[in-house]
């Protein structure tokens, strides 16, 4: 059964996937998070953890990693184990390096891993504030309140009914004035989510939960 699930669930991810998203996140969202005493981030559907590590790097470079707790969850336990190992096939690293550069990385990407055999191992200091845990978006419920939720490229495989369930779940898991980010290619305009959240960056699909009007600078064709 586990093996079947493993095969069924789709695990395509990259570090700094859609670099422009991370760039916007760094320039627009990080300043808002900076004042918070503790930052909680949830990667819903983290797959093999690349995105969670990317976020850890970004926060580290912004000097916020120490007060951040990243919860990375997936329904596939096998892939969680892999994510926890923090080992990335060396083949992907060239692409990830380019992503990192485009995402506005301010240090050297090579500082965050060391190569061992054919895998790049994420530096342990990046792992210390990440919790990998099992969580099924379809059957499980909210387990904390987060300032940021990333649910990128997960819902594209869901039907509308399941999507709406997830939107409810995300909404209930988001703190007031929190942000939720979907994949750049996803469309959620046709669903109920538009009633929960305020869109604040249409290209990168960043949404905001809160009553006050909120907007961030949105430049055309950044990349």
């Amino acid at each position: 059964m586990k093996k079947l699930l493993n095969d069924l669930s789709i695990n395509v991810t990259e570090m700094f996937r859609d670099p422009s998203f991370f760039k916007v996140f760094r320039t627009e969202i990080i300043p808002i998070l900076r004042d918070k005493p503790v930052i909680r981030i949830w990667h819903a559907g983290c797959s093999s953890g690349e995105e969670a590590y990317s976020m850890a790097i970004l926060l580290y470079e912004e000097g916020l990693y120490n007060k951040t707790r990243i919860y990375a969850t997936d329904m596939n336990e096998q892939i969680l184990e892999k994510a926890n190992g923090g080992e990335i096939p060396i083949t992907n690293m060239q692409l990830f390096t380019r992503n990192y550069q485009q995402a506005g990385g301010v240090k050297e990407f090579s500082r965050y891993y060391s190569v061992d055999d054919n895998v790049a191992v994420i530096q342990p200091f990046l792992k210390k504030n990440i919790v990998f845990a099992h969580h099924n978006l379809v059957t499980d419920f909210s387990f904390n309140e987060f300032h940021v939720i990333l649910c990128r490229n997960v819902l594209i495989y869901f039907n509308n009914k399941l999507k709406n369930r997830v939107y409810h779940l995300l909404y209930n898991s988001l703190s007031d004035e929190g942000f939720v980010c979907f994949g750049s290619k996803e469309t959620i305009t046709d669903s109920e989510a538009t009633t929960f959240f305020q869109i604040i960056h249409s290209r990168e699909k960043i949404y905001y939960k809160g009553k006050k009007h909120f907007s961030i600078k949105e430049e055309g064709n950044r990349i």
């Binding site: 580290y60 912004e62 120490n66 060239q94 390096t97 090579s110 061992d116 054919n118």
Partner: protein
């Protein structure tokens, strides 16, 4: 019985009588009319019918005779005439029959009916006779007809007689009827007259009765009311035996009114009494107040008051006490004490009856005084007053004095009221007098003060005059100084210009020194690396002596490098060319670094080295790692340098509440210490404790200056405490550097700085070979080797030190290394060696720099995918972007971390 009922009853009876009379009149009149109509309609009709009947019978007999006569004379024409005559006779016969029938119908009594029946019979007989006559005539026997007629005359006569008999009968009847109606009318007239007469009598009687009864009741009430006396209102007559009717009601109301009037009268009397008393009080009060009006002396006031009051209330003794400033009552006046002083002079509040009265603010009245209480005398004799009254004099809710009076008889209520009233209001007068006295005193005082003030004012005017003169002088001086200021301004500008020139030349000097660093250190670094490699003797081909020489070269070179570094650091700091790169730094990391650096030194010098981190110290600080370590190194080096025995302690603790102090690094030694006067100058550049110190302890004397400048750059500061001969303690306070500072630093001028100090660190920290971290296990290295084996790396760098260092390290991983000194050479090299799998590219090179070289390489199609790693200075953030734009695949900052570089190479050469 009530009047209303009486009236209703009377009028009811009258109305009934009138109705009765009316009805009777109507009835009688009706009967009379019936009677008359009977007479007219029946009797008269019958008479008329009988007359008609007689007339017709007469007419028939006449016509018959006519007929018989005519026949004799004119026989020829007789047929026609005869027919006409016959016709006429038949008509009369028929009419008489009709009259008879009508009579028959109208007849009511038997006599007339019988008579009419007889008439009818006789009429028939007559008619038969006529018929027989006609028969004779027609048969031409006229004579016979005449005969027949003459023979039967008695038939016609009896008919006429019968008819006349009927007429007489009917006329009798008529007469009788008329007579009876006449009688009836007379009897009715009589009845009316008597009825009206009786009614009038009855109504008059009733009216008289009712009027009399009403009149009686009203008279009764009126008689009582008339008797009300015009003046005596308190005993008014009342109406007794009241009837239960309207007048009775009036009587009752009258009684109530009388009661009210009586009570009003009583009240009025009472009021009059009070008014009289009030009047007495008021008039006397007015008289007294008039007497005391305008008196300003307390004694005189008191005497006047008492002499005014006493006669009014017939008092034989009187004393008035008035409160002084404190709680004492002073006797101010007395009455009737002609030959002796009566009364006590002073009484405290609460003492005796007078004091008690003043304290409680209540009057006291005694009616039976003991015999020896006080004696009142006149020329004739003396007696003892029996009544005594003590009344407090009030003012604004307080007591201002007390009045005491004695009298032979008891005081009346009015007298007491009067006295109380007086005492209530006289307080104001007393107060006024007291105030007046106070004001008089104050007036005297203020007059004195005014005089003094006048004198002072004169003095002040004098002084003012003097001041004005001084002011004029000052004004002159100000003008002079203004001129001087202008001169100074010119001088200041001149000085500023010179200062700018000096700063500029200083800057040139610093820049020169900073730029020299590259030139100085490149060869020196090469000497150091190579001497180190020689010293390690990896190939085991040097003699022991040679190895020692190599070590000496290394040590001397290192000293020289330190000196140069210090000088350059200082010059860079002074010329503002030091950049700060804050990042998260774990305190434990600092501890590990310090341990690594100095435990060794401590051992060598035989000094105890203790590092202690307080438990409440923040675990993280956001600062520039390298600069912090540099400061600590300087301070600790100094501590160890000047300490021969004892301890060197590093104590890390939470900072004070100061913004600039998050963490404190305290370095304490037991060395030679610094004298108080020198503590200030130790941070100045090129300074050591004294001139001799340099020679004794070595060192450049720049360490503390650099540390101080660096701590300032990191937003903190250094404090020093020291006692000569006992040791010193340096406290480094550091804050979290905010991101703003971070950005500000990045915006600063970017200058090329090669990686001098960090590499240096590595020489210092580990005596092991250059740049490789030694936390890797042998196995790792083996793996790495496998991956990297036979890969060809091209290093492009004009700095031989870097080339050597990198070459050595890479070759240990079985990588083949080629190198080029500049971009141009690099491209040539690539052309010659297609096997090159990765390029490490320095940026600052002569002839062709890294950017240009990378661009040139990327222009070539076969090298578009060639991995190029740019070697950038850590400081140059923008360099990275420029590198990426120029075509670099990735970058790594100098000093190069070998593990990182090897990982990087592995990633980029992986196929």
């Amino acid at each position: 019985m009530r009047i209303k009922t009486k009236l209703y009853m009377g009028f009811g009876i009258v109305l009934t009588v009138i109705l009765l009379i009316g009805t009777t009149v109507l009835y009688t009149y009706n009967q009379q009319r019936d009677h008359l109509s009977n007479v007219v309609n029946e009797n008269y009709e019958r008479v008329k019918l009988a007359d008609n009947l007689e007339a017709y019978s007469q007419a028939i007999s006449r016509e018959v005779r006519q007929l018989l006569l005519m026949d004799l004379n004119h026989f020829d024409q007789s047929v026609t005439i005869y027919e006409d005559q016959k016709e006429l006779i038949n008509y009369y016969q028929h009419s008489s029959t009709v009259q008879l029938d009508l009579l028959k119908q109208l007849s009511t009594n038997k006599d007339t009916s019988d008579l009419i029946a007889t008439i009818e019979f006789e009429n028939d007989q007559y008619n038969d006779l006529i018929l027989s006559i006609f028969d004779y005539v027609e048969s031409g026997n006229t004579n016979r007809g005449v005969q027949e007629l003459l023979n039967n005359t008695e038939v016609r006569t009896s008919l006429i007689d019968s008819i006349n008999e009927l007429k007489v009968l009917e006329e009798h009847e008529m007469e009788r009827a008329l007579q009876s109606s006449e009688e009836m009318f007379h009897s009715a007239l009589l009845f009316f007259s008597s009825l009206i007469g009786i009614s009038i009598l009855f109504i008059v009687g009733l009216t008289l009765q009712i009027t009399k009864s009403i009149d009686r009741s009203i008279n009764k009430v009126r008689s009582v009311m008339v008797n009300i006396p015009s003046k005596l209102m308190d005993q008014l007559p009342k109406i007794r035996n009241i009837k239960d009717d309207e007048i009775g009601d009036i009587a009752k109301t009258y009684n109530v009114m009388v009661e009210h009037l009586e009570s009003i009268k009583k009240k009025e009397d009472k009021l009059n009494e009070t008014l009289k008393e009030d009047n007495w009080i008021k008039s006397n009060y007015a008289q007294v107040t008039d007497n005391i009006q305008g008196l300003q002396d307390l004694k005189k006031f008191s005497e006047t008051l008492l002499t005014s009051i006493a006669p009014l209330v017939s008092a034989s003794f009187g004393i008035l006490y008035i409160k002084d400033d404190g709680k004492q009552l002073i006797k101010q006046g007395s009455y009737a004490d002609e030959y002796r002083d009566i009364g006590v002079e002073k009484i405290n509040f609460g003492d005796g009856l007078v004091g008690q009265s003043a304290l409680t603010n209540r009057k006291m009245y005694f009616r039976k005084l003991p015999e020896n209480y006080i004696k009142s005398s006149s020329g004739l004799g003396e007696g003892v007053p029996t009544s005594l009254i003590i009344i407090p004099v009030k003012f604004e809710k307080g007591v201002i004095g007390v009045l005491e009076l004695a009298k032979f008889e008891p005081f009346t209520r009015i007298e007491i009221d009067f006295l109380e009233h007086l005492c209530d209001s006289v307080g104001a007068n007393i107060n006024q007098i007291l105030n007046h006295l106070k004001i008089s005193d104050l007036l005297v005082e203020s007059q004195t003060t005014t005089e003094e003030l006048q004198t002072q004012s004169e003095e002040l005017q004098q002084q003012q005059e003097e001041l004005r003169m001084i002011n004029e002088k000052l004004h002159d001086q100000y003008k002079q100084s203004d001129e001087k200021t202008k001169e100074l301004e010119v001088i200041k500008k001149d000085l500023e210009r010179r200062n700018r020139e000096i700063q500029l030349s200083s800057k040139y000097k610093s820049e020169f020194l900073a730029n020299m660093s590259h030139e100085l250190r490149t060869p020196l670094n090469s000497i150091l690396i190579l001497s180190q490699l020689l010293h390690e003797n990896n190939d085991q081909n040097l003699t022991k002596k040679q190895v020692e020489h190599a070590e000496t070269i290394y040590t001397s070179g290192k000293d020289l490098l330190d000196l140069i570094n210090d000088i350059l650091d200082l010059s860079k700091i002074e010329s503002g060319k030091i950049d700060i790169y804050p990042e998260e730094l774990e305190i434990s990391n600092v501890k590990a670094f310090v341990e690594r650096q100095f435990s060794h030194v401590a051992q060598q010098k035989g000094v105890n080295f203790n590092i202690k981190i307080e438990h409440d110290t923040p675990s993280i600080i956001y600062t520039d790692d390298q600069r912090l370590k540099q400061i600590l190194k300087n301070l600790l080096s100094n501590a160890f340098k000047f300490t021969k025995e004892g301890n060197v302690d590093l104590h890390i603790k939470r900072g004070s509440n100061d913004v600039n102090s998050k963490v404190i690094f305290s370095i304490r030694d037991t060395g030679i210490g610094i004298s108080t006067e020198k503590q200030k100058s130790i941070f100045e550049a090129f300074y050591q404790g004294d001139g001799t110190t340099t020679r004794k302890y070595g060192g450049t004397g720049l360490g503390l200056s650099i540390s101080k400048e660096l701590s300032t750059l990191l937003g903190g500061y250094i404090e020093v405490e020291s006692k000569e001969g006992k040791g010193s303690s340096f406290l480094l306070h550091l804050p979290d550097l905010s991101s703003q500072i971070d950005e500000a630093v990045i915006d600063m001028d970017e200058i090329a700085v090669t990686s001098e100090e960090p590499l240096n660190d590595r020489f210092d920290s580990q005596s092991n070979i250059t740049v490789i971290h030694h936390n890797k296990t042998e196995k790792d290295i083996e793996n790495t080797k496998e991956l990297l084996e036979n890969k060809v790396v091209l290093i492009v760098d004009d700095d031989m030190r870097n080339v050597f260092a990198l070459t050595t390290a890479l070759e240990m991983n079985k990588i083949k290394v080629l190198f080029a000194e500049n971009g141009k050479e690099a491209i040539d090299m690539l052309n010659k060696n297609p096997a090159i799998s990765i390029v490490l590219m320095d940026i600052m090179m002569p002839i062709m720099d890294g950017y240009e070289a990378m661009k040139k390489i990327r222009e070539r199609e076969e090298w578009s995918d060639l991995p190029i790693i740019a070697l950038t200075a850590k400081a140059m953030k923008n360099d990275r972007e420029k590198c990426l734009q120029a075509g670099a695949s990735d970058y790594i900052s100098k000093p190069v971390d070998m593990t990182q570089l090897l990982s990087l190479i592995k990633v980029w050469v992986y196929k």
